[in-house]
C-alpha cells in the first residue's frame, strides 16, 4: 500500500504518533553530530545527517542499559526488580543499513537456546519506519554487502523523500496498522514515478565494488597472514569504529551499587580495547593490536558468516568516516581479496 505524506503535515503526523507511542528518531546534538534518541516533541527530529554517529541499534540495545535493580534488606536476601517497557515504540528515520544491522544483531540476541530479553522485547514492540537515502555518501557501500540505499528489508513502513512530501509504503503487518492515518493520502502514479527515479539514481551512486562476496572463504586462509602485522599498525585502539558500528554488539556487565542499593548494568564494549579480553590472572589471549584488529575484521567477515550465513557489515561507512586515523575497512577487504603477488597487495596503508 502506498501513500503520500505532505511534509507540511509531518510534524502533526509525529505529534499523533507521540500520543500513542514512544518515538525514537535521529536528533542533532550539535552541528554535525546526531544520534537516535527518544523524542519528546516533533521539532527535535532531524533527518538531515545521512549517517548519524551512533546507529539505530541504540534504540534496541542502548549503550548503557540497566538490566535489573536490587535492594538488599537485612537477611531477607535482595529484592530484584526489572524494567518493563510501557508503550509500543516507533523507530523513525533509520536508514536501510541500520535496519539491516538490527536483523544481524537479532540473530545473536535471539536464538534457540537463550533469548536476550532486553533486546527481544524492544524489537518485538517496535515498528520500524525506514527512510531511503536519496544522496548516499562516497563512503557508503551498502550495495556491496547485500543491501542498498532503498533496501526495504526489515522496515515496516518505508519513506522516500520526494522533496515536498514523503512517499510512504506499508510493507508488513505492523506497517499495515498505519493504513488508516489521516495524514496519509493515496499516492498517485506521479509520486510513484518520482520515487522510482530517486531510487534508481541513488542506487547507481553506491559503491558495489567492495569485494565482500566470498570474503569468508578467503579469510579462512588468512588467520595467520602477515597482513595482520601491518593492518593494525595505524590503529590506535580506540572504540570509535566498534561503538559507531551498527552491527557490533559486544557488551560488558557490571554492578553499580552504593550501600544496599544497586543495579546490574550492561555497557557496550569493544574488542579493540586491551582489557576486553584481559583475564584476572594477567593473561591476555589477544595481547596486541594485531590480534584485536584481526578479531574485529574476522568477526564481521568470517566468524559471524560461519554462524549466520552473511557478513556482519552493512556498508554504512561510519568506521571510515569517524576513524581518527582513517583505517578504511574497504581497503582491508580489497587487500584480503587481492591475489598474492599482484599489484594491489602493497596498497594497504
Amino acid at each position: 500500500m502506498m501513500f503520500n505524506l505532505d511534509k507540511k503535515d509531518f510534524d502533526h503526523f509525529l505529534k499523533d504518533l507521540l500520543e500513542t507511542h514512544d518515538l525514537f528518531a535521529p536528533v542533532q546534538l550539535t552541528e554535525g553530530v546526531s544520534v537516535f534518541k527518544k523524542i519528546d516533541n516533533p521539532g527535535e527530529v532531524s533527518l538531515s545527517q545521512l549517517v548519524p554517529q551512533k546507529s539505530a541499534k541504540e534504540v534496541f540495545f542502548p549503550q548503557s542499559e540497566v538490566m535489573f535493580r536490587y535492594q538488599i534488606a537485612g537477611n531477607q536476601g535482595p529484592t530484584v526488580s526489572e524494567q518493563k517497557i510501557e508503550r509500543e515504540r516507533i523507530l523513525l528515520g533509520a536508514r536501510p543499513c541500520d535496519i539491516e544491522a538490527i536483523s544481524i544483531i537479532e540473530k545473536v540476541f535471539t536464538g534457540e537456546d537463550y533469548t536476550d530479553v532486553y533486546f527481544a522485547e524492544k524489537r518485538k514492540r517496535t515498528t520500524i519506519i525506514g527512510l531511503g537515502c536519496n544522496h548516499p555518501l562516497s563512503t557508503c557501500f551498502c550495495s556491496s554487502t547485500g543491501g542498498g540505499p532503498f533496501n526495504r528489508a526489515g522496515s515496516d513502513l518505508f519513506f522516500t523523500d520526494l522533496g515536498d512530501a514523503y512517499f510512504v509504503e506499508l510493507l508488513t503487518e505492523k506497517g499495515m496498522a498505519f493504513r488508516v492515518n489521516k495524514f496519509f493520502k493515496e499516492a498517485d502514479s506521479e509520486d510513484l514515478g518520482l520515487m522510482k527515479e530517486i531510487e534508481d539514481k541513488a542506487s547507481q551512486k553506491v559503491d558495489r565494488t567492495v569485494p565482500v562476496e566470498g570474503i569468508e572463504k578467503r579469510l579462512d586462509l588468512m588467520v595467520e597472514s602477515p597482513f595482520w602485522d601491518r593492518a593494525h599498525e595505524k590503529c590506535i585502539g580506540c572504540g570509535v569504529c566498534t561503538f559507531l558500528c551498527p552491527t557490533c554488539h559486544c557488551f560488558d556487565i557490571t554492578d553499580e551499587a552504593v550501600n544496599q542499593k544497586g543495579q546490574r548494568v550492561r555497557n557496550w564494549d569493544s574488542c579493540l580495547f586491551p582489557i576486553y579480553s584481559l583475564e584476572t590472572s594477567g593473561h591476555n589471549p589477544r595481547p596486541t593490536g594485531r590480534e584485536r584488529t584481526r578479531q574485529r575484521l574476522m568477526h564481521k567477515f568470517n566468524y559471524y558468516p560461519k554462524n549466520f550465513g552473511r557478513v556482519a557489515c552493512v556498508g554504512c561507512g561510519r568506521c571510515i568516516l569517524y576513524c581518527p586515523v582513517q583505517f578504511d575497512i574497504r581497503e582491508a577487504l580489497v587487500y584480503a581479496s587481492a591475489k598474492r603477488g599482484k599489484g594491489r597487495k602493497g596498497k594497504f596503508k
Binding site: M67, F68, Y70, I72, N75, G77, P78, V80, E82, V108, F109, G111, D113, Y114, T115, D116, V117, Y118, A120, E121, V223, H249, C250, F251, D252, I253, T254, D255, A257, G262, R264, R266, D269, C271, Y276, S277, L278, E279, T280, S281, H283, P285, R286, E291, R294, Q295, M298, H299, N302, Y303, Y304, K306, N307
Partner: protein, 279 residues
C-alpha cells in the same frame, strides 16, 4: 520470556578453605526455591555464573557431581573483586547463580571407553565432578578404567584431600598424585605432571584423555599425549576465557566462530586445531 540474565537465589550452606595458601575456598550452595532445585539439571564440565549483588558476576565450573543431589559445590580462587567477595561471604547468605551453562564433558562419547583424567592445581574442580560422577555405583559401568593424574605445586595445594584419600582406597580407580615440592609426609610422586604422565604411560587404547590445568602444564602435557598415540579427537580440555554473559551474547569469549561459554568450555583438540589461537 524467561530472562537468562536473572540469577536464581541460592543459600551458602557451608564454606571451607581447601588449601594451605588459603586462596581456594569451596562453597556449598543449596537452592532457596524448591522449583529451582527441581529444574536444575547439569552434567560434569558445565559451569555457573555466581553473583554477589553489588560486586558482580563471575563464571565457575561446577565442582560437585550431578549425583550429589543436596548441594552445588564451587571452588573459588581468590583473585579479583567477585572472588574476593565470595571468599568473604558467610554461611547463610544469599548468592545468585545462573546456569548450568556450557556444554560439559562429552559423557556420551566417553561411554564404554577408558578415561584418563589429568589435572593441575585449582583447575581440578570440574574434573572432580567428572570423576565423582563415574565413581557413583549408578554410573561406574559407563566407563571402563579410570586413571587420574593430579598435580599441584605442594601437598597443601591439592584440592579435595579427603576425597583423594578415599579414591586411593578404591580399586576401581587409579589415582596418581604428584607435587613439585613434597614434604616429609608426602607419599605420592614428586615431579611435573607431564613427566609423571610419561612415567606411568597409560595406554591410549580406547581411551579418552581430559586435561585441565594451567596453560603451561597443558602445553607440555599435550605432546606427551600425542607421543602416547592419543588422537586429537580423544583429547579434551576445558578452556577458560574472560566471560560476562555466559550465554553467547556479550561476545568476548569467542575463539574463532565458537564461544567458550556456549559452544564450550569443553573442546577436543581436533576442534581447537582448526581455530585461531585466541586463548
Amino acid at each position: 520470556m524467561k530472562n537468562p540474565y536473572l540469577p536464581i537465589p541460592m543459600i551458602l550452606k557451608k564454606a571451607e578453605i581447601e588449601t594451605s595458601d588459603r586462596l581456594l575456598r569451596t562453597l556449598e550452595l543449596g537452592f532457596k526455591n524448591k522449583e529451582d532445585e527441581e529444574s536444575f539439571r547439569f552434567i560434569p564440565g558445565q559451569f555457573c555464573e555466581l553473583s554477589i549483588l553489588g560486586k558482580g558476576e563471575a563464571p565457575f565450573g561446577i565442582a560437585s557431581s550431578p549425583i550429589e543431589k543436596t548441594a552445588l559445590k564451587f571452588t573459588i580462587n581468590k583473585a579479583g573483586v567477585v572472588t574476593t567477595a565470595l571468599h568473604q561471604i558467610e554461611a547463610g547468605s544469599e548468592i545468585g547463580i545462573r546456569g548450568p551453562l556450557g556444554n560439559g564433558y562429552p559423557i556420551d562419547f566417553f561411554e564404554g571407553k577408558n578415561l584418563l583424567v589429568i589435572g593441575g592445581g585449582f583447575a581440578f574442580t570440574t574434573l572432580r565432578s567428572l570423576v565423582a560422577y563415574y565413581l557413583h555405583p549408578e554410573n561406574r559401568t559407563k566407563v571402563k578404567q579410570i586413571t587420574v593424574v593430579y598435580g599441584a605445586r605442594m601437598p597443601g595445594l591439592l584440592l579435595y584431600k579427603d576425597e583423594l584419600l578415599e579414591w586411593e582406597k578404591r580399586d576401581d580407580i587409579k589415582l596418581v598424585t604428584t607435587v613439585d615440592w613434597g614434604d616429609k609426609d608426602w607419599k605420592g610422586k614428586v615431579g611435573l605432571v607431564p613427566n609423571v604422565l610419561e612415567e606411568i604411560a597409560p595406554s591410549s587404547e580406547n581411551t579418552c584423555a581430559v586435561i585441565c590445568g594451567p596453560p603451561i602444564m597443558i602445553k607440555f602435557t599435550f605432546p606427551k599425549l600425542v607421543a602416547l598415540r592419543f588422537p586429537n579427537e580423544r583429547i579434551f580440555t576445558s578452556l577458560e576465557k574472560r566471560m560476562k554473559c555466559g550465554i553467547g551474547k556479550c561476545g568476548r569469549c569467542n575463539i574463532g566462530h565458537l564461544y567458550v561459554c556456549k559452544d564450550g568450555p569443553v573442546f577436543s583438540y581436533a576442534q581447537l586445531e582448526k581455530l585461531p589461537k585466541d586463548y
